[in-house]
């Protein structure tokens, strides 16, 4: 099956936050008690009960007194997913055939290592210490529906569809290269940024922490190469030199 994705277009977003509400509704997530921070942004960060949210930014602009940016933040469903790489429990994080990084709370052991592996600071943990994050409504998309957030979006700022198709359509309207098009093997959430990603609060070059890459590429293989090497060396030693018996010392003395 072709890889599916969400295309986020901040320029089309009116900041209504219907995506936040639709997500909570479909996934039966309770509301979070928040306080007024003097911004439309609420809550200020993803929570265990908030899988996607609109990030509000006010930035200087040439024409208008200021420019508002509305950016939908969520799990990026990386192709090369740091969370899946570091997770010690098989099946807690799994890849669906549509390319989503979905979660299975029953298999999550609550170690929180995925928080370390994620380049975008997405995974949260609920009251039961289980992984809680956007799973691209894998139950909906598996049945031919689109995710709750994109279904609800009134302006097309969130679009769900075939990943290659979304890229082509964005290129047609002038976005040469989307954010996430090639990062981390290609993200499942693509962003049509008009300016530098940093203006929208995203890293220029997102990546899995180097320590996690080092662990995956070097330490992990060494755990069995080292063990196997020593066992093999012991066998070789036994064959080549044999056991150190007392009788040999006697022979040495006598001989």
């Amino acid at each position: 099956m072709a890889r599916m994705a969400i295309l986020v277009s901040p320029e089309l977003c009116i900041g209504c936050r219907a995506c936040q509400v639709a997500c909570k509704s479909w996934n039966q997530l309770p509301g979070d008690k928040t306080t007024n921070h003097g911004s439309f942004e609420n809550p200020l960060d993803l929570t265990p009960h908030l899988y996607n949210k609109i990030h509000y930014l006010e930035v200087p602009a040439e024409k208008d007194p200021e420019r508002w940016l509305f950016v939908n933040q969520r799990c990026m469903h990386c192709d090369d997913a740091g969370c899946m790489k570091i997770c010690p429990s098989p099946g807690a994080l799994f890849r669906t055939k549509e390319g989503a990084v979905a979660t299975n709370k029953e298999k999550c052991i609550g170690c929180k290592l995925c928080v370390v592996g994620c380049p975008f600071n997405v995974p949260r943990y609920d009251e039961k210490d289980k992984i809680s994050k956007c799973h691209l409504c894998y139950d909906r998309i598996a049945n031919g529906l689109q995710p709750a957030c994109t279904k609800t979006c009134p302006t097309g700022a969130l679009k769900y569809g075939d990943r290659d198709g979304l890229i082509t359509s964005a290129q047609k309207i002038g976005y040469e290269k989307l954010y996430g098009q090639t990062d981390l093997g290609g993200l499942g959430a693509l962003y049509a940024f008009k300016d530098s990603p940093t203006l929208y609060g995203y890293k220029m070059k997102p990546g899995i922490p180097e320590s996690v890459v080092f662990w995956h590429k070097v330490l992990k293989p060494l755990t069995y190469i080292g063990l196997g090497g020593v066992v093999a060396a012991s066998v070789l030693h036994y064959v080549a030199f044999g056991p150190h018996k007392e009788s040999e010392e006697e022979e040495k003395k006598n001989g």
């Binding site: 570091i86 010690p88 429990s89 098989p90 807690a92 298999k107 052991i109 609550g110 170690c111 929180k112 290592l113 928080v115 370390v116 922490p209 320590s211 996690v212 080092f214 662990w215 330490l219 992990k220 060494l222 755990t223 069995y224 080292g226 063990l227 090497g229 020593v230 066992v231 060396a233 012991s234 030693h237 036994y238 030199f241 044999g242 056991p243 150190h244 018996k245 007392e246 040999e248 010392e249 040495k252």
Partner: protein, 202 residues
């Protein structure tokens, strides 16, 4: 026969050895998503709980080893240098190894390695367990835990081989704590001299 290890030391070594091996098997289960190991321990959730509690057993047992091996393992003399020069006689039974105390140089190095990397793997394990909210600290702990695992997974099989097949007669120390007097005099002459010296004093 002469006693090399007392009953508590023998028991402690078994606790350390068994906890370490079970923890290591679980570690491979986590590292490589081995479903068989997970289901053996009742699923990955209970394996994680067991891994944590067994970590306490391992840590306590590692702490007790301080009283048995630390002082001896930090004492090096000229004979230890000579022992290193002849590679401990590991690569030839014809080599004459210098006289050793209760522990030979290799055993001292092994103990120090187990102590350092054992503390490293235990401390980083407790970070995962008790301080999962500190992302930066968990990131360091993750590397430390795995580096220590790699080192221990190389040192321990060598220790098991040298303490069993490679040197027949040594395995009995783990069970009875005693060794034949003549054997001890050959392998650990300085220890025997010490014991005999003390016996003379009293």
């Amino acid at each position: 026969m002469i006693r090399k290890s007392n009953a508590f030391e023998i028991l402690n070594h078994w606790v350390l050895a068994i906890s370490c091996i079970v923890l290591a098997v679980q570690g491979y289960g986590f590292l490589f998503h081995i479903e068989g190991i997970g289901s053996f321990f009742g699923g990955f959730n209970s394996m994680r709980a067991l891994h944590n509690y067994l970590g306490i057993v391992f840590s306590v047992s590692l702490f007790f080893t301080l009283f048995f091996y630390l002082k001896e393992s930090l004492t090096f003399d000229a004979d230890d240098m000579r022992w290193i020069a002849v590679l401990g006689g590991y690569l030839s039974h014809k080599v004459k190894t210098p006289p050793m105390g209760k522990l030979n140089t290799g055993q001292k190095f092994f103990y120090l390695a187990v102590l350092i990397f054992g503390i490293g793997i235990a401390a980083s394990g407790f970070v995962f367990w008790l301080m999962p909210g500190d992302k930066q600290l968990v990131m360091y702990a993750h590397v430390v835990h795995n580096v220590c695992f790699v080192v221990l997974m190389m040192a321990i099989p060598a220790h098991i081989y040298l303490g069993s097949l490679a040197n027949p007669g040594t395995l009995r120390i783990m069970i009875y704590g005693t060794v034949p007097y003549t054997w001890a005099r050959k392998r650990h002459p300085k220890w025997i001299a010490e014991v005999e010296g003390e016996a003379h004093k009293t």
